[in-house]
């Protein structure tokens, strides 16, 4: 029954990876920006939930109702100011700017909140689980996070395929100049994409804080997993990102089963195999590589 356990736990953690990664994938797809501060934004959202929400008399777990829209707004403003200015220069500048943001955020968090681990308090629910088989327990929290990930990805998919704004976001991603010729203000569209990216990563950050402990430096490791989920699934496919996250989660669980020290190694190995065998990702199109 260990296989069942590996698969179940892999799927559960994979949902979280996908939730974490979808914003990264969207920003890369639309403005060709790799936001190296993506993971740190999630950590900031966690700190806001733990330290600021109680001051606003909001229970930590419900803080996402405020934090998610707040991060959406932050994403839009940051995109229209700092990030747009760097995009206007060149891609390398953008990479440096987001890297700089990442360093600044990590060190600010260290200075203010120290390196101690924190977690979002949801009371005794955090350890509740149900038994699926003799050796397989499913945590309610992990199941909820998976459900949230599926709902968010599904909603995002519907938004991109069915609404005018969603279509325009895809149009800008396909051909920015042609989208301008259809009346799209691409800077505004970039802002919307950044808003969605920041809002989803804030939700991922709070989810992470509910599932486990986080510290100022947690962003980097999660950013790596998010990258891997996006690349395994294929750039430009949201469901691909979910499948990529799940595949990564299963590989990691399998590694942990072989030897607890191999958890991250096996995930990285899967990532390398996919890059070598199918560089466009499981659900990616070849032409999207260009």
């Amino acid at each position: 029954m260990t296989w069942v356990n590996i698969l179940v736990q892999g799927v559960l953690i994979g949902g979280f990876y996908a939730l974490f990664a979808c914003g990264l994938s969207l920003m890369f797809g639309v403005m060709k920006v790799i936001n190296l501060a993506h993971g740190d934004m999630a950590v900031v959202a966690g700190y806001v939930a733990v330290f600021l929400a109680p001051k606003w008399h909001v229970p930590e777990v419900w803080s996402f109702l405020i934090v998610v829209p707040l991060f959406g707004l932050l994403g839009y403003v940051l995109q229209r100011t700092l990030l747009q200015k760097s995009i206007d220069r060149d891609p390398f500048t953008t990479l440096l700017v987001t890297f700089g943001l990442s360093v600044i955020i990590e060190n600010l968090l260290l200075a203010i909140y120290s390196a101690n681990g924190q977690s979002v308090n949801i009371g005794s629910l955090v350890s509740k689980s149900f038994q699926l088989s003799s050796s397989t327990y499913v945590s309610y929290v992990a199941l909820t996070v998976l459900a949230v990930a599926v709902v968010v990805l599904g909603a995002l998919q519907l938004f991109l395929s069915r609404t005018n704004t969603g279509r325009v976001i895809r149009a800008v991603s396909d051909d920015r100049e042609a989208a301008q010729l259809c009346g799209a203000n691409y800077k505004h569209v970039f802002g919307i994409a950044a808003a969605i990216s920041f809002a989803t990563v804030a939700l991922a950050g709070i989810s992470y804080g509910v599932m486990t402990q986080f510290a100022p430096t947690s962003g980097g490791a999660n950013l790596l997993f998010a990258f891997e989920a996006v690349v395994i699934g294929g750039i430009g496919s949201l469901w691909g990102t979910l499948v990529g996250g799940i595949a990564l989660g299963i590989a990691q669980q399998y590694g942990a089963h072989v030897n607890p020290a191999y958890q991250i190694l096996f995930g990285n190995l899967l990532f390398l195999v996919v890059l070598a065998v199918r560089p466009q990702g499981l659900f990616g199109r070849k032409e999207a590589m260009a």
């Binding site: 005018n164 279509r167 895809r170 396909d174 051909d175 100049e177 042609a178 010729l181």
Partner: protein, 267 residues
Amino acid sequence: MRSIWVDESLTKRHWFNVASAPSSSTLLSVRDLTVHHGQLLAVDAVSFDVHHGAVLSVIGANGAGKSTLLRTIAGLNHATSGEISFEGTDISRYPAHRRVTSGISLVPEGRRLFQSMTLEENLLVGAHKAAPGVFDVTAIYDLFPWMKDRRKSKVRQFSGGEQQAVAIGRALVANPKVLLLDEVSLGLAPIVIERIYEIVPQIVASGIGVLLVEQDVSQGLRVATRVLCLLEGRTTLEGAPEDLTPEQIEIAYFGSHLVAESSKESS
């Protein structure tokens, strides 16, 4: 002139009243427009007007600055100097998307469709900031009846001619007052080019002013109300096509220097 591409009866049945479009009024006015590509002078002090319901054809050899001219009017390239005004308003400093909502649509060279999208999605993006007017997605399906059955197909599966038709449709659904067509014949078979050009008179009849760029001189002349020839970024000839002799056009197209040389060789 029956065609599977164009249902001519439609344009006559509804959409517009030609008499209401005054043919003399100026829509787009370009004065002393100069554009550089880095150090290179691409367009050199070019001036012209585009009127309601008229076609201005810009002809010229490869590298004469035709595409740069259209891209600058559409706001994709920046002018070094000169003025572009539209219905009396200076739009030289407008970003590209604002020129679309003002009433200028460009069908870009190479068609530039949204390759990951269906035909209908391409048209919907074209229509998302549309001005009120005669063209909507249904009207485009009336103009190109073959599109209706394939509206859910991804445009990357389409032939060059079909993609060009979609590109024109995508520009028309914005209900422009001036339509800019950049090398619509490029890479297409003559029969397909003919079909594409069949719709130009219908577009013009709706009162839209058309500014088109062509390497294919005979095609450019056939549909034109007026012709403008560019050579190395400068205007070398302007006039109504019926007033121009082939010799005049040849000299304007290739430059007097080259034409003189080649006639010397042949004699």
